[in-house]
Symmetry: C2
Subunit: 222 residues, 2 copies
């Protein structure tokens, strides 16, 4: 096999495509090294594309936008659209695995295919294919500001209004080491906000509290 | 200016080189977006180089080897060798900053220069320059196995000897939130090892304990 329907590239060396389709469950001759290479060429091509398409966006937002494109869930969607599941080679034990694991295998396989195209046809060919596959996602990305995490959005909103930064106070930390629960209070004193957030880490609890603070602020403005 | 001594590339557009040399302290027209792009092309070129040079190494070790090349301390050393400090443009407030901060500025500037070369001359030119600058580091990388973290090395050694995995037990967690100290005990029961490690996070304390366990094992074998 030299081609996969939906991926506009014909391999000179069919063994490379075959390797890219071989999950580690088939044995030592598998696609994990190609996945390392493909992950990296994908990250770079998407970075270049976003740099070009979003001249107004700063590096933090470029990075968040890129994550949206190259994260596992997005790649799994793309891989499913390409029906990579019809082509991937799995070992005995993996044949029946479904759901999440299957999606992560397909996402990895897509990266491995990009790595194989780079080795087989060079950078420009690989970049052309990555753009073909990823541009629909890149073109439908939201505005960069929508991608910021709640703590960042809250702080930017407060500072834009001339208020000081919010404070995060640890209220409680409970549960055994492997199953901790944190409660954090987000305090924006000058606008009279003090809401609690809960999470499995302090950081997650802070983000949850900031998200609730944003909801409260939005409610007041209606 | 179109060139920097030691970097074998002549810019078609000198404004791109100038932008790459402009730290964010000079104002909104700075090198941060170029740094995002450069970080990513650097990561990819080094990945490709390691893929090629280390055919026997698995993807986890490839990734660890790459980190050695692209991490801040390595890039700062390269930037210092190239005397980038003579060319970087800083704002008033930054002129006097020294030491660690200066090194991180120089490392970021080197990445921004790689990004600028990609935009100015295309991928192949950029890859050639990255290889020229980074190959001395790549060629002096240790064997992949030496790069593994102590926990991984300890576990692999124990399993290779037919022993079970080590356990890590939290002994104490002290100090205020921003300055915690963790003490963890690493226990490898079947070979009678129980050593403590200390660190600013649980993970660091575990690594420190594993490192001491490895030292103890090495001592016994002498």
């Amino acid at each position: 096999m030299r081609e996969i329907p939906g991926i506009p590239y014909r391999f000179n060396d069919p063994a490379l495509l075959s390797l890219a389709l071989s999950h580690r469950s088939v044995g030592p001759h598998n696609n994990e090294r190609l996945e390392f290479l493909g992950d990296s060429v994908l990250g770079f091509v998407v970075a270049g594309r976003l740099y070009e398409l979003r001249p107004e966006v700063d590096e933090g937002d470029l990075s968040r936008l890129r994550t949206r494109v190259v994260r596992g869930t997005t790649l799994a969607e793309l891989a499913n659209k390409l029906k990579l599941g019809d082509h991937v080679r799995l070992g005995e034990g993996e044949l029946k695995s479904g759901g999440h694991k299957r999606n992560s295998i397909l996402a990895d396989t897509l990266e491995a295919i990009f790595g194989a195209i780079f080795l087989d046809g060079g950078f420009e060919e690989c970049a052309r294919v990555v753009r073909h596959v990823c541009d629909p996602v890149i073109n439908s990305l939201p505005d960069a500001s929508e991608l910021k995490d709640p703590k960042t959005r809250l702080q930017e909103w407060l500072q834009g209004q001339g208020h000081s930064r919010p404070e995060y106070v640890l209220v409680s930390e409970t549960g055994p080491a492997h199953k901790k629960r944190f409660i954090v209070q987000c305090v924006a004193q000058t606008i009279g906000i003090a809401v609690n957030g809960e999470g499995s880490s302090r950081q997650k609890a802070e983000q949850a509290a900031a998200a609730d603070a944003l909801v409260e602020i939005a409610g007041r403005q209606e």
